[in-house]
């Protein structure tokens, strides 16, 4: 597929842009933070997104979606990224709907995907057990019991875990932490007995949760993917999550860069605009190149999913690593080039830098993805 948006995708992007700029500027995130909103997002805004059909973008029409593809979802995430908009679209649609589409039985798909498309359910992936992304490093056990399965273990950094209706829990049936074999993805009711959810507030003003499972009950046929072979579907889900997150990061990068260039043109020191100094101008030009390369890898990765290419994993690691690094660079330069004002809470700059760091730590930092890319490429 060509690396340009088609007309429909461009229209969706324009519409999302107008909506987000109007309804969810950065001040909306600031308000959520200042109010200490327990949900971590604005439910009224989420309802409006539901009415626009956003939760159903990637879901096939037969399950109540609009089948607009990952590139369609990507442009919406990119527009949301511009203003750092918080919503359950990442947890529930990008990850939750993808998981169901990739690995649920027909019965489960029919039951759940229309609910997601209609914005009636929030789904969260309970994966991580340590502070750094390690998808196979799972100690949480899923073992058979008289009435199905029991799950015990501790999960951390579960995105939207504090508001989820259903949890996709990565648990180990056999083997040791670190093994790729032996994992199963159980679907667990967030309100079930033995599930203890503790909300955590992150630096980027978005919420997550630590979740303890103490013999929570699960069923052998309420799963995603295959039993003990859950890593296969988990990798595919995570690649979609990484690519979608990269699209969101791209939007934030664009604003951070545009804002910085504008400041270089207007801020006067020594009687001239600071952008006339080569020490800053060359750094801005280098950033421009990094941003252009970032646009290309995101578009390529999104179309890799839509075209069902066999190199989705490479495209995902390429996109996530590059967007991590570019967002880090641009947000740090944004602060430095703004000088003292960048250190104040009143400016939005800090929000972008905090989001850059949390996003980078989500689903694999750059070192993780360089290692993975090299392995996939056979070296």
């Amino acid at each position: 597929m060509a690396l340009v948006l088609n007309e429909d995708q461009q229209q969706l992007k324009d519409a999302a842009h107008a909506f987000i700029q109007d309804k969810s500027p950065v001040s909306a995130l600031r308000k959520l933070r200042d109010e200490k909103n327990p949900d971590g997002f604005d439910r009224a805004l989420w309802q409006e997104m539901v009415e626009l059909g956003w939760p159903g973008i990637i879901i096939p029409e037969e399950y109540g979606g609009s089948e607009f593809g990952y590139t369609g979802l990507g442009v919406v995430l990119q527009e949301m990224g511009r203003t750092l908009t918080a919503s359950p679209i990442m947890s529930t649609v990008l990850i939750g709907a993808s998981a169901y589409m990739l690995g649920a039985s027909e019965v489960r798909k029919k039951a759940m995907l229309p609910e997601i498309a209609a914005g009636k359910k929030i789904v969260a992936l309970a994966l991580e057990e340590g502070p750094r992304h390690a998808p196979y490093n799972i100690a949480t056990r899923g073992g058979p019991s008289v009435d199905g399965y029991r799950i015990s273990g501790e999960k951390t950094f579960v995105l939207d875990g504090q508001v989820a209706d259903e949890l996709i829990v990565v648990a180990r049936e056999s083997g040791e932490p670190g093994d790729r074999d032996g994992l199963t993805l159980f679907l667990v009711d967030a309100n079930a007995a033995g599930v203890k959810i503790t909300p955590t507030r992150m630096a980027d003003s978005r919420n997550a949760a630590n979740i303890t499972f103490n013999g929570a009950s699960a069923s052998g046929d309420k799963i995603i993917g295959e039993k003990k072979k859950g890593a296969d579907v988990l990798d595919a889900i995570l690649d979609r999550a990484r690519i979608g997150l990269a699209a969101e990061m791209l939007g934030a990068i664009e604003v951070a860069f545009e804002t910085t260039v504008e400041y270089l043109k207007t801020r006067q020191q020594f009687g001239r605009p600071i952008g006339s100094f080569q020490g800053l101008a060359h750094r801005a030009a280098e950033m421009f190149c990094e941003v252009e390369l970032s646009k290309s890898v995101v578009l390529d990765a999104l179309s890799a999913i839509d075209d069902n290419r066999d190199d989705i994993a490479q495209a995902a690691s390429l996109a996530k690593a590059r967007l991590n690094d570019t967002f880090h660079l641009i947000s740090c330069e944004m602060l430095q080039m703004h000088g003292g004002i960048g250190m104040t809470d009143e400016a939005d700059i800090g929000f972008y830098m905090k989001r850059a760091r949390v996003a980078a730590a989500t689903f694999g930092d750059s070192a993780f993805h360089r290692d993975r890319y090299a392995t996939l490429e056979g070296y």
């Binding site: 060509a2 690396l3 801005a284 280098e286 390369l293 590059r322 070192a367």
Partner: protein, 399 residues
């Protein structure tokens, strides 16, 4: 069958008949065909291949037929390139006339000049060199001092150029000269063509750190140039110079975006080379720090390749041409330099041999190519000049 499919069939059949078998083998550097009056064909098939391709105008496939070109549209040219690639055909002709001068003449020259100069370029009969840089005008190219005085029926050229690629082999030169010393520097420059055998022209090769001498100093001592050899308007040569520089940048950036978008293939691929020289453990490059550096480099190359592709796709979709050439020149050449640094890092002393038989031939070439790559970010506008262009013309940062 669609017209394009028919074109492909015909092209394939024609190439089958007209591309000599030895022209489908990897090309040693000393068999590169540059054409020209004094061309020496080490392999006689090179001349056959050049003449066959030139007879179709396919050495310049997209130039109009009336000027000797192939008259192909974009889609047909793409098919031609694919079919050439399919049989691994060598380039029939390497030519600054085709890559740089021709596009500028098509845009700026008079009808008479196009008819006169373009067909011999297509046929590889005249080899051109570029007279741009001067000892005192490098990055500040518009500061050039070589002057052309109006003597009534001719111009009299005096001065010198430097870094003139292959001037010692060239038949003609396209040259920037100062025709109005009083005007602001960009407004007193003209674009002149003249024969290198004109009395008063001398060249002197410059030996480089890589041991080769692709560049010359070129001296002009009272060289008489006919007035009809002026391209475009008098004192408006800077516009032509800039357009031509864009073609040059695209050409140089291409050096860093070969197979795999600058990742390099075979014995120029850092990952292949690292496994061979630095060792392998469980299918991985044994040195984890080197492996990480190579992955980072290859990922940047892939991202760069995708950006070239995206720019092409956007142009096809009708987007206005972006500032691509400066970004590509900057990023592509820096990336090519990094590739050679990684190759050296992986190969250790085996990439530091100068001559003698204890080294493989490709190892000795990597030493030389590494040194040659250092010029990539200087020639055709330094990296710093490209960053200036991006900052000012793309981002609109103030002077």
């Amino acid at each position: 069958m669609s017209d394009l499919e028919q074109f492909r069939q015909e092209t394939r059949a024609w190439l089958e008949e007209n591309c000599p078998p030895s022209m489908r083998t990897p090309m040693p550097e000393d068999e590169t065909c540059w054409g020209g009056r004094n061309a020496v064909y080490k392999n006689p098939d090179s001349k056959v291949w050049l003449d066959n391709m030139a007879s179709r105008g396919w050495t310049a496939p997209m130039w109009p037929k009336e000027y000797g070109g192939g008259g192909l549209n974009k889609d047909e040219n793409k098919i031609l390139q694919q079919e050439l690639g399919r049989i691994r055909a060598r380039p029939a002709l390497s030519s600054f006339g085709i890559w740089m001068l021709g596009p500028a003449l098509l845009e700026f020259a008079s009808e008479e000049q196009k008819k006169h100069y373009l067909p011999p370029i297509v046929r590889g009969e005249i080899r051109w060199c570029q007279g741009y840089s001067e000892p005192g005008a490098g990055s500040d190219l518009a500061g050039l001092q070589t002057k052309a005085e109006d003597m009534g029926d001719h111009y009299l050229v005096n001065g010198s150029k430097i870094w003139t690629s292959y001037a010692n082999f060239a038949d003609w030169i396209f040259c920037l000269v100062r025709t109005n010393p009083q005007a602001p520097k960009h407004e007193g420059i003209s674009f002149l063509l003249f024969d290198m055998t004109s009395p008063g022209v001398t060249t002197k090769p410059i030996q480089l750190i890589s041991g080769s001498s692709p560049f010359c100093e070129t001296f002009f001592d009272n060289v008489k140039v006919p007035k009809e050899n002026l391209v475009g308007e008098l004192n408006k040569g800077w516009t032509i110079a800039k357009a031509l520089l864009q073609h040059e940048r695209t050409m140089i950036a291409g050096m860093g975006s070969g197979p795999g978008g600058g990742g390099g293939s075979g014995l120029r691929s850092p990952s292949v080379v690292a496994k061979k020289y630095a060792g392998e453990a469980d299918g991985r490059i044994a040195d984890p720090a080197l492996r990480d550096s190579i992955a980072a480099h290859n990922m940047n190359s892939r991202a760069f390749g995708l950006t070239v592709q995206r720019t092409t796709d956007e142009a096809k979709a009708g987007a206005p041409p972006g500032p691509a050439s400066s970004m590509f020149k900057y990023y592509g050449t820096e990336q090519n330099k990094r590739k050679y640094e990684l190759l050296l890092q992986a190969m250790g002393t085996q990439a530091l041999g100068w001559e003698d038989s204890t080294f493989e031939e490709h190892e000795l070439s990597i030493t030389r190519e590494w040194l040659r790559s250092k010029a990539n970010s200087i020639e055709g506008g330094t990296s710093e000049v490209q960053l200036n262009i991006i900052a000012k013309r793309v981002l609109g940062l103030p002077e």
